[in-house]
């Protein structure tokens, strides 16, 4: 099986990923949405672990997390759900969440469960690189799970090179200094400087990407884009996910 990095590189400048919160709008929605996305034109999928205090997230993702927790969602339940569908999924899927969820689960247990659930990459925005290297890397390596780190247009070149060195999937470039779902304009010049750095990892742009126009702009600058809040807002409104999810993805991708 090809790695996520290979898949992204093969699909250069045309990768679309979406983020959704596990357990939203219903606890059982996780597997349903994963199944629909797997059959859609999306390239890879980010599954959000709902958390009570998501510091980097704007209101849309916050609300979806609050609802998911009310629905009884937990990391334990998420791993169970992933276990049920992992053999039916052909697209790469990642986990994205906050460090406290991982710590409460147990660091080693978390990486082991990821591995058992077909998760090869995780995104933990509040896990700093040095802390990952110190406390997590041994387990992550053992269970063949690797982190994706966030960089911003203001991240120093030195740090970006360090992050590139230890990353195995892609670099998550935040569109600007913003929480998720904010209508901020993509910082074109700063992003060009980063994508021109000859990194070994592909660069995917996220935060504030909401429509086809943003997606095309991100693809013109980097290897693709991640849509979170706009996708979740669509799910929250949808009365027919089977129809609306593929529609949303095709509309963004223009396919």
């Amino acid at each position: 099986m090809k790695t996520l990095q290979e898949a992204i590189l093969r699909n250069r400048h045309n990768n679309l990923s979406v983020f959704f919160t596990a357990g939203f709008p219903q606890a059982g929605s996780t597997t349903e949405i994963l199944g629909i996305l797997n059959d859609s034109a999306v390239d890879f999928i980010e599954v959000g672990i709902p958390f009570s205090d998501p510091l980097a997230d704007g209101p849309v993702i916050q609300r979806s997390g609050t609802q998911a927790l009310r629905n009884g969602m937990s990391l334990e339940l998420l791993f169970t759900q992933l276990g049920e569908v992992r053999n039916t999924l052909t697209k790469p899927y990642l986990l994205m969440g906050y460090l406290n969820s991982l710590l409460a689960f147990g660091i080693e247990a978390f990486y082991r469960k990821c591995s058992e659930s077909g998760i090869h990459h995780i995104i933990i925005p509040d896990l700093p690189v040095n802390e990952f290297l110190k406390e997590h890397k041994a387990f992550a390596d053992h269970y063949e799970v690797s982190p994706v780190f966030l960089v911003t247009p203001d991240t120093s070149a030195k740090r970006i090179h360090e992050i590139d060195k230890i990353s195995k999937a892609f670099i998550y470039l935040v569109s600007g200094n913003t929480t998720t779902g904010n209508q901020s304009s993509i910082q074109t010049e700063a992003i060009r400087k980063i994508t021109g750095m000859k990194l070994k990892n592909p660069v995917i742009i996220g935060f504030g990407i909401k429509d086809r126009e943003d997606y095309l702009q991100a693809c013109s600058l980097a290897d693709g884009a991640i849509i979170g809040s706009a996708f979740i807002a669509m799910i929250a409104e949808s009365k027919n996910l089977q129809k609306d999810i593929p529609g949303f993805i095709s509309q963004i991708k223009g396919s």
Binding site: D53, L55, D57, E76, N100, A104, T155, V174, T178, T179
Partner: protein, 393 residues
């Protein structure tokens, strides 16, 4: 100024650190690199000391209570932080950080507030120094602390209601951090307690350490001893306690006692006694004790006192607790109210509900008659009249 327990990379033992999204890396990194140097500079020290003396009204008195001493058979003093401008110790930190922000070239300040004391102190410091000020406050707290909301607005601050979570201090802190992410370039975040990512716990402790510095000098003058047998302070995030403990952290003689809020009891679900019922995790960018469920979701605290109503605790206190360098007792709402009633009737002082928790430690202790006990009276009770009218009159 010594830093007894903070090791070089921002941890107190295993507690502390800076667990922040990359979006805040540059801001926090800039602070980490510059705060000690700026605070130590002659320019900062001159301005800060001048303001603490002539604007805040420091040094605050160290008052010997004959009535409490007689009742509890010890020599009981209280440090009168309630006499500071704006009514609590919070101004020590707000003014220090506002001055620091100004010297770092930031024009805008964001802060969170629970009861409104830190919000009022920050709005005051910003007015004085010509900085613009945004304060996040939980919608629930806005409703129950109307006079402080009016004060902040009068001082020119923009008060934004936090609508996330249960709309209290934890959520206001989340929203202040999110605002900082979105306005990173020109804004400094003035956190109100010894919580948050490194360097906040250490920086706020330094600004509050003036409390124990003065206690030492005043105690020597009044008793001939510069180290008390006990220092007692209430702990929410823990800034007044950190300040009151600081210069006694290395003392072999002084026993440090923190009072956390048990709310309706540590075995009820309505409590804020983080060290008693919490476990280690990450809250607001620091590794420390926090109240959480088995899935790592942060749970809602409860205390009659809005200032102690926080589900985490500063990493310094987590460290002092775990290394047994300080003792933390859980004080219920009713015990705090009884202590407030006693202080009002014996000494004619209406304490903040937060500070009343520290006084509630007295009946739980066994003192020797020669023991010198210093209680930090961190704030005054004007803001708590509603609760007092209901429970004390």
């Amino acid at each position: 100024m010594k830093s007894y327990t903070l090791i070089s990379n921002g941890y107190y033992g295993k507690f502390g650190g800076a667990y922040i999204p990359e979006l805040l890396f540059n801001n926090v990194d800039e602070l980490q690199k510059s705060y000690k140097k700026i605070i130590a500079s002659a320019e900062f020290q001159k301005k800060f000391k001048g303001l603490l003396k002539d604007y805040v009204g420091r040094p605050t008195p160290l008052y010997y209570s004959e009535a409490l001493s007689e009742k509890y058979k010890a020599r009981i003093f209280m440090k009168r932080e309630d006499l500071n401008h704006t009514g609590a110790h919070k101004i020590n930190n707000a003014l220090g950080q506002a001055l620091l922000a100004k010297m770092m070239g930031k024009q805008k300040i964001v802060a969170e507030t629970g009861a409104g004391q830190h919000g009022v102190a920050t709005a005051t410091a910003c007015t004085l120094l010509g900085l613009s000020c945004v304060v996040f406050m939980g919608e629930t707290d806005i409703a129950r602390q109307a006079p402080n909301v009016a004060r902040m607005k009068m001082l020119g601050a923009t008060v934004i209601p936090s609508l996330s979570g249960t709309k209290t201090l934890k959520d206001a802190t989340n929203d202040a951090i999110r605002y900082w992410i979105n306005h990173a370039a020109d804004t400094h975040y003035i956190i109100g307690s010894v919580v948050g990512p490194h360097p906040y716990p250490d920086m706020v402790t330094r600004f509050q350490s003036i409390i124990s510095k003065e206690i030492k000098i005043q105690l020597r003058k009044q008793t001939g001893e510069s180290e008390p047998d006990y220092v007692i302070a209430c702990v929410g995030g823990g800034s007044n306690a950190a300040g009151a403990f600081y210069h006694f952290l290395n003392s072999k003689k002084t026993k440090l006692v923190g009072a956390e809020a048990a709310g309706k009891g540590v075995h009820t679900h309505e409590t804020a006694a983080t060290l008693t019922i919490g476990s280690v995790g990450i809250i607001h960018g620091a590794k420390t004790y926090l109240m959480q469920n088995g899935d790592g979701q942060i749970t809602e605290p409860y205390s009659i006192s809005a200032g102690l109503d926080y589900p985490g605790i500063g990493p310094l206190h987590a460290f002092l607790h775990e290394s047994k360098q300080a003792t933390y007792l859980a004080i219920t709402d009713l015990e705090a109210l009884a202590a407030a009633r006693e202080l009002i009737h014996l000494d004619g002082i209406i304490p903040a509900l937060e500070s009343a928790h520290a006084f509630a430690v007295l009946p739980k202790m066994k003192f020797r008659p020669t023991d010198i006990v210093v209680i930090n009276l961190s704030g005054r009770g004007d803001k708590d009249m509603e609760a007092y009218l209901k429970f004390i009159l």
